[in-house]
């Protein structure tokens, strides 16, 4: 009988084969991996490429064929063909498709086969290999089962056609099916073992390269695929660190290796990669860097002074431009996918109907929201995209002051303004920091400061940023930006009926240039952060590493390429609520000011009183003490103590007298305004003046010294 020998034969080859797979395991992966999951396939491919030669998969499929041939009888040619076909299909790497096809084909054949078929594929796929690396085993199984099925079907059909008696065929079939079941179980076991081995191998794979390996890599030209694989593996490990980590390696080691790989694969310098790694979690970081590699879509803005978006879109579509409205947040934006004509040279462009502008550049102007008949300043206006947008929003009413520091960029600014039909603009070539002097303090309704920055948000436009930025440059940029934002704030009139807003924006993602600058402005001027109306952005950072910013900074908005599909951008809107400058008045009550003449006298009296006791040093000490304490407190304390002493001296310190004779007048330019300019000068001079003004003061040495300096200053006081 055929059945008995087959059983025996099954046993032998089973044992035989058990040994073989163990030896073959390292090699068994490639055909196995050509299964469902492409990801897993890649990993196994990685392993294959690294460790094995291409010849192995072929050997493996051949081995499979052998196994099947050993087990089944007769029509070995057919079976072999069936298996070979299966094997070929696997090798063609459209694993899942071929499997499903073959399985589907198999399912079409006889009932007995169906039963076997249904057992063959999915249960194995799901039961044994739940979300782990065991797909190798799964695929192995499936290939084995598929092979068997193919052979089985052929066998079945062959049997039906060619057999003599049904009984013998049925028996054969039953026995063969049992044999196949046993074979499947055996293959399952083997697959399990391979699974375990594979898991070990894969987790070993995530070993960070040792120093020697790194040196070797350094000597060879960079293998980009290798780097990419390693980066992906590291990201995977980091996402599930506890279970996938290598022993003895900390998170830091992985991140360090990732940084090095990113820098060499994408071409960044160390500084930039370090800052990006600090800012973003690893998965997001990969997305961001990928997004930087691709250009953002070209956008254009309709010039509402001349045309409407609908009409412009019609005209451009007729010319052969493929475009769409930009987003729901913009009523004037259009995004261009492709174009038959050069989009920057159409007659409509030349007539000023639209402006080529990146989507992120719409945002600061939308945040600024200029109203008609307002007085606006654009401090860094070139090439004029934002200025023309402001003019369009204002419908050519009011007044815009467009300033640009670099003379080379002025041409494009004036040309764009003229082209777009803007008539309410004055263009100047001042330094932004000098604008308050030029234009007048506290004189404008709104100011837009699109500050010059390091450009780390527009890497997709300019790849040189990847390598050229260093900490120094960022710090220089931040310094300049801080000065400019203070100038911008000084330009705005807090009491403006419709305005009092400053919008600060950069095309950078560095916290030092964005939140830090706004925080600085909050400390130095009477401004507060208000919502900018761009709710679809990411919130600004309220704290970042060791920095703690004002909580209102969450109203600022950040934009990223990988989230919003526009250039990296930062927008903050500030409202000035008072024209006074805090802290410009030095905390010396004596000197300071404005609180009232009585205070002054009291302060003077106080210092006088103290000076009677001691030296210049004590006077200075008294002065410093008086400076540090709030003036109000001083004045309250002083009268009780001091007045009695000072009565004889009072007449000299009458308001009118002191003003006439006050040396302060001489030293300071004599303008009351000078106080507003900054009290330092006042403070310092007054400090000096106080001892000298005190004719009564015993420290005549000091007074004399001062008096010697006085002749230079046209002193009116008695020497």
């Amino acid at each position: 009988m055929v059945s008995l020998p087959t059983k025996k034969k099954n046993h032998k080859p089973a044992k035989f084969n058990k040994q073989k797979p163990v030896a073959k395991n390292p090699n068994a992966e490639k055909p196995i991996t050509l299964k469902k999951d492409k990801k897993r396939k890649k990993k196994s491919e990685i392993f294959n490429v690294k460790r094995r030669k291409v010849a192995d998969p072929e050997e493996e499929s051949g081995e499979l064929e052998e196994e099947v041939k050993d087990e089944s009888e007769g029509s070995s040619g057919e079976e072999g063909e069936g298996v070979k076909l299966e094997g070929e299909e696997f090798d063609m790497s459209s694993g899942s498709d071929s499997d499903s096809d073959s399985d589907g084909g198999d399912d079409g054949d006889g009932d007995g086969d169906d039963g076997v078929d249904s057992d063959g594929d999915d249960p194995f796929g799901k039961d044994v290999f739940d979300g782990s690396d065991g797909e190798e085993g799964g695929s192995d199984l499936e290939s084995g089962s598929g092979g068997e099925l193919g052979s089985d079907s052929e066998m079945g059909s062959g049997g039906v056609l060619g057999s003599d008696s049904d009984d013998s065929d049925d028996e054969d079939l039953v026995k063969k099916s049992r044999a196949l079941d046993r074979e499947k179980k055996r293959v399952e076991k083997e697959a399990d073992e391979e699974l375990k081995l594979n898991i070990k191998e894969e987790s070993d794979e995530f070993e960070l390269p040792t120093k020697e390996e790194l040196e070797e890599e350094g000597n060879r030209p960079p293998d980009l695929q290798h780097l990419q694989r390693r980066m992906k593996e590291i990201v995977r490990v980091l996402s599930n660190f506890k279970s996938l980590r290598q022993e003895g390696k900390t998170r830091k080691d992985y991140i360090q290796q990732l940084k090095i790989d990113l820098a060499s694969y994408y071409g960044y310098n160390e500084f930039l990669i370090d800052t990006l790694v600090e800012m973003f979690p690893v998965a997001e970081l990969m997305e961001l860097i990928e997004a930087f590699e691709k250009p953002r879509p070209i956008c254009l803005r309709t010039n509402t002074l001349m045309t409407r978006r609908r009409d412009l879109a019609d005209v451009l579509l007729n010319r052969g431009v493929n475009l769409d409205p930009l987003s729901k947040w913009s009523k004037v934006g259009l995004v261009v996918y492709d174009s038959q004509v050069p989009i920057g040279a159409t007659p409509e462009y030349m007539a000023g109907h639209y402006m080529l502008q990146s989507a992120s550049s719409f945002l600061p102007v939308m945040a600024l929201a200029p109203k008609e008949k307002e007085n606006i300043v654009d401090m860094a206006a070139a090439p004029g995209g934002k200025t023309t947008y402001i003019a369009a929003l204002m419908k050519n009413t009011g007044l815009i002051h467009a300033n640009e520091m670099k003379a080379q960029r002025l041409h494009s600014l004036t040309a764009n303004l003229a082209r777009m039909g803007v008539t309410n603009t004055i263009v100047t070539n001042c330094d932004g920091k000098d604008l308050p002097k030029c234009l007048g303090l506290n004189s404008r309704d709104r100011v837009l400061l699109d500050a010059p920055c390091s450009g780390t948000g527009v890497i997709s436009k300019d790849e040189s940023v990847k390598t050229s930025k260093s900490l120094e440059e960022i710090q220089n940029c931040a310094f300049l930006q801080k000065q400019l934002i203070l100038a911008a704030i000084d330009l705005v009139d807090a009491t403006s009926s419709s305005g009092g807003y400053i919008v600060y924006s950069t095309c950078s993602m560095m916290v030092a240039e964005n939140e830090a600058v706004v925080d600085y402005a909050l400390k130095k001027r009477n401004v507060k952060v208000v919502p900018c109306g761009l709710d679809f952005g990411c919130k600004g950072f309220v704290n970042y590493r060791e920095h703690q910013f004002h909580p209102s900074l969450e109203h600022c908005r950040r934009f990223y390429p990988h989230v919003h599909n526009m250039d990296g951008f930062f927008v903050a809107k500030l409202k000035k609520f008072s024209n006074e400058i805090p802290n410009s008045i030095p905390p010396e009550p004596a000197v300071k000011v404005a609180l009232g003449t009585e205070l002054k006298y009291n302060a003077h009296d106080d210092t006088e009183g103290k000076s009677e006791n001691g030296n210049k040093d004590s006077e200075h000490a008294a002065n410093t003490k008086s400076k540090q304490k709030p003036p109000n407190a001083k004045s309250k304390q002083q009268p009780a103590n001091v007045k009695s002493k000072q009565q004889p001296a009072k007449p000299k310190f009458k308001p009118t007298d002191s003003r006439k004779r006050s040396p302060r007048k001489m030293y300071v330019s004599g303008n009351k305004n000078s106080r507003a300019r900054g009290g330092k000068r006042n403070g310092q001079r007054e400090r000096r003046e106080v001892p000298s003004a005190r004719i009564i003061a015993p420290a005549k040495g000091a007074g004399n010294k001062r008096k010697r300096e006085e002749p230079n200053r046209k002193s009116k006081s008695k020497a």
Binding site: M350, L399, T414, A418, R419
Partner: protein
């Protein structure tokens, strides 16, 4: 920045008159909206800065006086330039002003639009239609068939003469076109 003196003013107005004729009055007397909310509508003024003549509202001009002379670059709309020799030429930036008040217009066919935008003269074959009453030597504003202003020039032939002209005859001598914004941005 200073006002124009007599000679300069006459030169500018003469040139403008060629294109806009009696509408010159409306150009000069137009109320200016480029003022702030608390200011009444002003008038337009002509100012000279570095040999360039600008046409701007009063409010703009007032505020520009505060700025140091070497820092001002541009103001309102530029009408034209004075050459070294003292002649005045209109430049393309004044096209919106001209187009709004033009007396003589020529509409170009779509096929010859691009040729004009490259700086070539307008040939008879490219003319779609033209206003009646054009004399040789008149200033003409060139439009596309969709009424987009493309530039300006001097009529080489009058309307009646144009009818007899062969298709390659020059109808309008090119003086300025919007293509200059791309071709010669730096020279504007």
């Amino acid at each position: 920045m200073r006002t124009l003196d007599e000679q300069e003013t006459t030169a500018v107005f003469e040139k403008l008159f060629k294109f806009v004729g009696n509408n010159l009055k409306s150009i000069i007397d137009a109320p200016s909206h480029e003022c702030l909310s608390f200011e009444p509508l002003g008038r337009y003024c002509f100012r000279l800065q570095k040999n360039r003549v600008y046409y701007a509202g009063e409010s703009l001009v007032k505020r520009a006086t505060n700025i140091p002379r070497d820092k001002i670059v541009a103001l309102g709309t530029q009408i034209g330039k004075f050459t070294h020799g003292g002649n005045f030429h209109l430049t393309i930036q004044c096209l919106p002003v001209l187009a709004a008040n033009a007396k003589h217009k020529v509409w170009l066919k779509s096929s010859s639009e691009m040729s004009f935008l490259y700086g070539n003269h307008v040939l008879k074959g490219g003319v779609g239609r033209m206003t009646e009453g054009i004399e040789a030597g008149d200033g003409v504003v060139v439009f596309s068939m969709t009424d987009v202003a493309l530039g300006f020039g001097i009529a080489a032939k009058g309307t009646t003469e144009c009818r007899k002209l062969d298709p390659n005859g020059i109808v309008v001598l090119h003086q300025g076109d919007i293509g200059e914004y791309l071709r010669t941005e730096d020279e504007l």
